[in-house]
Each structure stands twice: as C-alpha cells, then as structure tokens.
C-alpha cells in the first residue's frame, strides 16, 4: 500500500478512529487559545490543578449515576469550577498567591476523589479517569466535545479583547471597563469545561498536555498573539493525528501517544524555533 494511504486509512476504515480523530482535532483547536492565555497569565499550572480537582466531582457522579456522560460531566464541572472559584476567593480575601492557593486545594480534591471512589467500592478504573482512552469516544461524547469546542471558540472570540487587556494591563482595563472580572471568570470556566469534556476522551491528565504543550511550543515560533494561537492549534491537531496513528499501528495507549507527540513537538520547537530557540543565532547586524 502507498505510504500516504497509511496516514488516512485507519480513519476511513474504522468509526472509532474517526470519532477519536474528530474529537481530538476540535479539542486541540479550542484548547489552543486557552493554553496560550494561561501561559500569558502565568497560570500554566492551573490546568494540572483543575484536572486533579475534577476527580471528586467525577467520582461522585460515577457513584450516583454510573458511567454516564452527563453525570460525570456535571460532577467534574461542579468540582473543577468549585475548586477554581474557592482558590480565587481565598486569594482575593487573604492575598495568598494564586498558585499557592491552587496548590493547596488540588491535593485535597485529588485525595477526596480517590477516597470517594474507594468508599463507592465500584470498579471505576482510576487510571482510566486520569489517562483516558481516545478510542472509547462514543457518539454522545463526540457530540459533547463538538458543542464544547464550538462554544468555547465563540466565547473566546467574544472576550478576546478584554481578556487580552486584563492579562497585559489589568489596572488600565479596570479604569475603562468593568469587563475584566467577567472575562477572567468566563475564561476559567472555559478552561474547566474543556478539561472536563477532554478527560472523558483522553484522560484528565492527558488533556492538560494537549492544552499546554502546543501552547508553550508556539512561543518559539512567533511574537504575535494571533499567530501564537494559530501555531498552537496546528501543533495540537498534528499531535492528535500522529498520536492516533502511532497508537493504531503500534497498539499504544492513545492518550499518552498524543501527548508524547505534542511533547516531541515542544522539544523540537525549543531546539529549532526561530524565536529564542537554541539553534537560532541572533543576527549581529539588524536588517533595518
């Protein structure tokens, strides 16, 4: 068979591969701007924290309703938002740094989640929750992913400008508009929403990789924000596609395959990227 055919064939021949691909691609597109803004806001680690924080909610959902998408999503969403909100509230009231208050809350959430799963006594594989399986994306999960991605892309377009100013110069935005806190809140909600819908497909921890790795890698390719977001989306899509192919041909678990491809993209960017990459030599004379 022609080599190029290998790159497409699995997605034509198998429904589960097609669903995993479509779901992964839309997720990569909607997490790209979120990841880039998380980095700009110096909140790169919040994804990890929220991903752990989702666990008790998802576990509760599982306890009451079994393995159902709405229950897991609602539970995860509640726990993730609750956690992000609680830590933001503590920060606001006490002046504790945001990363410290998140770091304090997420072990609590993780431990609570594991405890609930233990008490529930049912066999929901913790590994499945944390690392997921892209190949188990069913019709319902896929449509959930499409809705979430569409919604978050539209919402990000709407809040792009206030969010940008709130990130760069919050004092300035506060004097001209009251949209800052609203944009910040909506942005965090979108992060949680994407992580929750992603954790069903590729696992809570793996979706963080898909959100952050391309975003961090993109910083080595441009100095312009729209370009950063586009590069990040393209890198994310390539990772999903190549990762799924690797997992198909070599029988690897899909979530880690996708994230490792994204990781390779990150390392290559660090070495070859034109903006402060390791191999880039600064021109001695400017070309002006």
């Amino acid at each position: 068979m022609h080599f190029a055919a290998h790159l497409w064939m699995p997605f034509f021949d198998f429904v589960f591969m097609r669903r995993a691909l479509i779901g992964g691609l839309v997720l990569a597109c909607s997490t790209a701007p979120l990841g880039v803004f998380l980095i700009l806001r110096r909140m790169s680690l919040i994804g990890d924290a929220v991903a752990h924080g989702i666990l008790p909610g998802a576990a509760l959902g599982f306890w009451f309703a079994g393995l159902s998408l709405p229950a897991l999503t609602l539970g995860g969403l509640g726990a993730g938002l609750g956690m992000a909100g609680l830590s933001a509230w503590i920060t606001r009231r006490t002046g504790l740094r945001e990363d410290a208050s998140l770091a304090a809350i997420y072990p609590i959430s993780l431990a609570a989640g594991v405890l609930i799963l233990g008490i529930a006594g049912k066999r929901l594989d913790l590994l499945h929750l944390l690392f997921g399986s892209a190949l188990a994306v069913d019709e319902t999960t896929l449509s959930g992913m499409l809705w979430v991605s569409g919604f978050s892309l539209i919402a990000m377009t709407l809040i792009y400008k206030p969010l940008l100013l709130d990130t760069l110069d919050p004092l300035f935005l506060q004097t001209v508009s009251r949209l800052g806190p609203l944009a910040h809140g909506l942005f965090l909600t979108l992060v949680v929403l994407n992580l929750v819908i992603g954790f069903q497909a590729i696992g809570a921890l793996m979706v963080v990789g898909l959100m952050m790795l391309p975003a961090i890698a993109s910083r080595f390719w441009s100095r312009r924000l729209p370009v950063l977001i586009a590069v990040s989306a393209v890198l994310g899509c390539l990772s999903v596609w190549l990762g799924l192919l690797l997992s198909f041909y070599y029988s690897l678990p899909s979530g880690p395959a996708i994230v490792l491809v994204a990781g390779a993209g990150y390392l290559l960017s660090v070495v070859f990227g034109p903006v402060h990459g390791l191999l880039r030599r600064p021109p001695l004379l400017s070309s002006q």
Binding site: L40, L168, F172, Q174, T175, V176, S177
Partner: protein, 222 residues
C-alpha cells in the same frame, strides 16, 4: 472635582497618614510630592478607584467608567507579552465610538506626538524603557477622560522626553482637564504646576507649589 474627606489609605491596619481632607478643583494641575513610601502611588490608586480607602471617602465627579485615566508606573507590565507597540497604544480607543479612518488618523497623530513613528510594529520586548513609557503616555492621549492621574510619568524618560511630557501635561491642562502628577523632581514640579500636595506621615499639605517648594539650589560641581 476630586474631594477626599477624612481619607486614610495604605495597607490594611497600617494607614499612611492621619485622616486627611482636601479638594482638587476642576481644571487644576496638582503635583504630588513626598518621600518614598509615603503613599503617593497608592493615593492615586485610591482616587482611581483601584484600591479601597481604609476610612473616609473619595469622590471624583466623573462618569464611573472612562471618565478617569490612570497612568501607573510601568513596572507592572509584562515585557514578554506578544503584542506590538501599536496594539498597546490602540487600546486607548476602548469605549470610544470612532470610524476606522478616524482611529487610524488619531493613532498616527499621537504616535507622531510622542515621537514613536517607525516603531509601530516593534514587539514590547524590543522597546526601551523610555519608548514604552512614551507608548503608555500615547495610549493615555487617546482617552477623552476629564481626569488624568499620572504616576511618575517622567520616569525612564530622557531630557527630551521629559520636556515632551511636560508639554503634553500643559496641553491637557489647557484643554480644561484635571491633572494629578506624582513626580520626584521638585524643581520641575515647582516650575510646571500651580498647586502641590505634599504627603508626609504626619499629614498632607495642599498649597501653591511656589510656596510649598523652596527654590532648588543649583547643584555645585567641584
């Protein structure tokens, strides 16, 4: 225009002064002086509504949003942020209803005013401190606010830049706006402003700058 009654400000539990009362008239140009740590910057933030007073009240007689423009010290900006100088300056259009042509004309005009032409596409990280400061001042020039609060606008500016900055401050003043300028250079404050607000840990003094600030002796070299 700006009225403070029994105002105390500072970190919670650590007011910087006894309760103070003062009024800055509409259309006045006031310099704020005082040693480091006396609370000049935080006073501006309190007036701008960005920080809550500990006790007392500040009332600024302008619309809640857009009526007041605030130039903070520039250290709070992330120099790695991936936007260009032009995008930073154009943020000053926030809330103004203008056609694209009007926008680009005004933008060109303020960039020229602040000697920033030719630097439009420079990323923030490639700007010098003085260029960034002029960009922030240019952003402020776009606003139509009637109250302007400037926190050390001359910091990072060279002699030419400082002169340019004072020129704009006088132009804003002449157009009837109310200005409050924090500045450490007493000679300039004495020369350029009518009134001065002196902050000390024992209280605030508001008076004509020629009276509150004695003429600065010329620095004797060798």
């Amino acid at each position: 225009m700006i009225t403070c009654t029994a105002l105390r400000w500072g970190a919670p539990g650590q007011p910087l002064t006894p309760p103070v009362d003062f009024t800055l008239e509409k259309g006045s140009l006031t310099g704020v002086i005082g040693a480091n740590g006396t609370g000049k910057s935080s006073l501006l933030k309190v007036i701008a509504g960005l920080q809550k007073p500990l006790t007392g009240k500040v009332s600024v007689n302008v619309p809640r949003r857009g009526g007041l423009a605030f130039l903070p010290q520039q250290q709070h900006l992330d120099r790695q942020f991936p936007i260009s100088l032009q995008e930073l300056v154009a943020a000053g259009f926030w809330g103004l209803q203008l056609s694209p042509q009007q926008r680009s004309q005004r933008l060109q005009a303020v960039l020229e005013d602040w000697c920033l032409s030719g630097l439009e596409q420079r990323p923030l990280m490639a700007l010098s401190g003085g260029q960034l400061q002029r960009a922030l001042l240019a952003r402020m020039s776009l606003s139509e606010s009637s109250v302007l609060l400037l926190d050390e606008p001359h910091a990072a500016l060279d002699e030419e830049g400082q002169a340019l900055c004072w020129k704009h401050i006088h132009a804003w003043h002449a157009s009837g706006r109310t200005l409050v300028v924090v500045c450490h250079d007493l000679a300039s404050v004495r020369h350029h402003t009518q009134n001065v607000l002196q902050i000390k840990s024992t209280g605030c003094l508001l008076g004509p700058s020629k009276e509150l600030i004695r003429p600065q002796p010329r620095m004797q070299v060798a």
